[in-house]
């Protein structure tokens, strides 16, 4: 059962982290939260479709279709988060912000498609094998509930901050998330042999193993890798700095505006 708990928790945490930050910033920006329902609904639909077509998609590009699709979705998440950061206004205003709505929706759709599809495939397997079904269902529910609770906790922590601190913390968390996504996209393309594999830049597995519960949770939260390649480190920094750059692009272009 513990495997089911950790597996579902790990998959849920990434999406829960993203949604809580987007939601907290939505309130700070006084924007409606229609994007959440649209994103959740479309994300669940696409993740079910992705999971159902996984055998066919995996055979694309000489059996590396899954890596290429995942990498494209993860790179798309990074791009949408950068544009989301760009759409944030310095002063909150209830006037409609279409870019905010589109980028928040698309980030959630892509994140749930990637993470949700694995949960769908995992659960489907056990629906065929009735022997472990009850244990897996309980374990998965616990994992999902813990992931959701951490997301809710983070949301309320952010909501209790003042506007300036909420914007700063939210952007920092989004930067880590975007860096994580771009780093994972690079890893997927390395696995597919589209990017040449290279030796690890460092090995921190002796201090914190990726296989430990803490390591797995940190992987889901901030993209912790014990043995990352140079391409992963560079893409992590690119993704993270991209968000911070896009968030401040208006101020950089017109320093006197705020």
């Amino acid at each position: 059962m513990i495997n089911a708990v950790i597996f579902v928790l790990q998959e849920t945490l990434e999406a829960a982290l993203l949604i809580s930050v987007l939601l907290a910033l939505s309130y700070q920006q006084k924007q409606p939260i229609h994007w959440l329902f649209t994103g959740l609904l479309c994300g669940l639909l696409f993740s079910a479709l992705y999971a159902a077509n996984m055998p066919t998609i995996s055979e694309w590009f000489d059996y590396v279709g899954q890596e290429v699709t995942n990498a494209s979705l993860q790179a798309a998440i990074t791009l949408f988060i950068c544009l989301y950061a760009f759409s944030l206004r310095r002063s909150s205003s209830p006037s409609p912000n279409p870019l905010f709505f589109i980028t928040a929706t698309m980030s959630v759709v892509c994140a749930i498609t990637v993470e949700g599809s694995e949960i769908f495939i995992y659960m489907t397997g056990f629906f065929q094998q009735k022997s472990h079904l009850q244990t897996i269902l309980i374990g998965s529910s616990i994992g999902f509930a813990i992931g959701l609770s951490i997301g809710v906790l983070l949301f309320y922590l952010l909501r209790n901050l003042n506007n300036k601190l909420l914007r700063f913390s939210g952007l920092c968390l989004l930067a880590l998330f975007a860096g994580n996504m771009l780093s994972q996209a690079t890893l997927q393309l390395t696995q597919a042999d589209w990017i040449p594999a290279a030796q690890a830049v460092w090995d921190s597995s002796q201090w914190l193993s990726e296989s430990s519960v803490t390591g797995r949770l940190l992987y889901a939260l901030i993209g912790y890798e014990a043995t990352p390649s140079m391409a992963q480190v560079v893409s992590y920094l690119l993704g993270a700095s991209g968000v911070l750059l896009f968030a401040n692009i208006k101020r950089l272009r017109n320093p006197l505006s705020s």
């Binding site: 597996f7 996984m54 059996y63 995992y122 065929q128 042999d193 594999a197 890798e225 390649s229």
Partner: protein, 114 residues
């Protein structure tokens, strides 16, 4: 008359690229692994050091499995009754465990790099 050197240049370039690509393709050893009853066959494989290897994995079970290895930095879902490819290496000598994340109690394996 002036186009002749260009054609010759492109011929040599095509020939070089074909040779280079065929060398690259030929140089990647393929190792086949099967998944049956949530077990890897063979459970241990040996590969040469500092060489890229293509793992060709067949999942003979009706249920999906996820090939996972923290040491190899690899993770891939393999649907039931399907086949897939995962590239690993070049790696320094050592032992790199891998497992099936959906059935970790039984699906265990190891890559020995010599």
């Amino acid at each position: 008359m002036q186009r002749q050197p260009n054609i010759r240049y492109w011929r040599w370039l095509t020939l070089f690229c074909s040779f280079y690509c065929s060398t690259l393709l030929a140089a990647t050893p393929v190792i086949e692994i099967s998944i049956k009853d949530h077990l890897f066959y063979p459970a241990e494989i040996t590969i040469p050091a500092n060489t890229k290897v293509k793992l060709f994995i067949r999942n003979l079970d009706p249920t999906a499995e996820e090939f996972e290895s923290y040491e190899l930095n690899r993770e891939k879902v393999i649907s039931g009754n399907s086949k897939t490819v995962i590239f690993i290496g070049p790696l320094p000598p050592g032992e790199y465990p891998f497992f099936g994340e959906f059935f970790p109690k039984t699906a265990q394996g190891k890559v020995r790099v010599k």
